[in-house]
Point group: none
Chain length 135, copies 4
């Protein structure tokens, strides 16, 4: 459904390489169009708590077809989606989760990265997306 394992592995490999280049230790997850886990890697000594966060970021990005950070902007106190994180067994709404589109613009899956600052997480996720962009 949507992304293939080969595409998911290409995205993860590119994200992994980006993390190595940046000197950060990441958990990297890819889900398919149905928000089901397709591939995952945890780099040596990456935060254990980030296993779950990387997977939830990928799922959250596919659940709402947008970058997780966009959702987080609206879920702050006083925001229109305050505490949306209580749905779906727990969402993660800070940056590091991104939808993955095919060449027609259709969303075929999502990637989630966790293990460093949210800026780093986002940059590594972005590298994964770019590696298979438009496939």
């Amino acid at each position: 459904m949507g992304i293939t394992l080969e595409q998911a592995q290409t995205a993860i490999q590119a994200a992994h390489q980006k993390a190595l280049d940046m000197g950060v230790k990441m958990n990297i997850a890819v889900v398919d169009a149905g928000a089901n886990l397709t591939a995952f890697v945890r780099m040596d000594d990456a935060w254990l708590g980030s296993v779950d966060i990387a997977i939830r970021k990928a799922k959250t990005a596919r659940f709402f077809d947008m970058p997780t950070g966009d959702l987080g902007k609206a879920s702050q106190p006083g925001g229109s989606l305050y505490n949306i994180e209580h749905s779906n067994g727990g969402l993660i709404t800070f940056p590091g989760g991104l939808p993955i589109k095919d060449s027609t613009g259709r969303i075929v899956g999502a990637i989630g990265v966790s293990g460093s600052t949210v800026e780093d997480d986002y940059a590594v996720a972005q590298a994964g997306v770019e590696a298979i962009s438009g496939l």
Copy 2:
């Protein structure tokens, strides 16, 4: 208990039509007086993460017999019901969930809508309520 399946389906059909008119893709749930799911539809390509949110909005509206947005006003930091979302396995307290009343004013169920802005969600839920109002 309370709302019948026929009434629930009438509400969902009206909400569905309203969503089509507005050009939005919604998840629409109706629960009965016992806050148990009675009917549900997900429009094609509506957000997957909104399945759970639509159902939780309907339940939340019946749990406390008020629009979900009203509850959200009191659950903000410093508010009297701060973080009430942690109860009942997870509440959703932004707009889009509304109680449904019979002709005597008794609450017989609730509707929850999720898939667009909270303003759109509310408008679609309202269309569902109006379709069976006072039945």
Copy 3:
């Protein structure tokens, strides 16, 4: 993804009619190819506990692309899949859940029915499948 809402509603309507003909009160759920809920109805006075069972039967049938009863035969004490029900947040492995295929034989979703004997549940699910078989 896979089944459309229109197809899901056709399946549910046929299953609902079958239940009326049989004089039984059912919960009927349809999930898509990603095992996400697409449509649901609970007939008036149908068992409340069967809301969850109908949904789990539909998900289980798609999780393993087979009738739920087939899985149940292998999950008995001494069987090769003993206690598989502990996975995926809880499976239901007795009859009443069936995969739905398109005209090419590809599985596009599943239906789950609960509210009577497993024989009745199966018959009602089967009526739903047949209504959209090969679409």
Copy 4:
């Protein structure tokens, strides 16, 4: 802790190749010495319900430092570990989960495979273990 990502990926690659050779579609998970997910792949069109089962098999094998099938023999009705599956948020105790040892015999992680018969699952898991045996 224990197994490295490189070793985990070697094990998964070997298991993946074995599955291709056998013509089966598998979910393959590796956990480290702390029973935390290290790497995972789902082959295209592998059962969605086996994502969770593959991960639970790997965790179960490390939780008790034995093949999952061995635990399952003792968890049958009347057995000494009857219904142990209720612990740890849900165990899977049929074959397909195996501990992974280093060259000193110390357990450094585990592999879990799900997607076909338990005999196939076991054979694919065994191929993964052998690929890094004694590293």
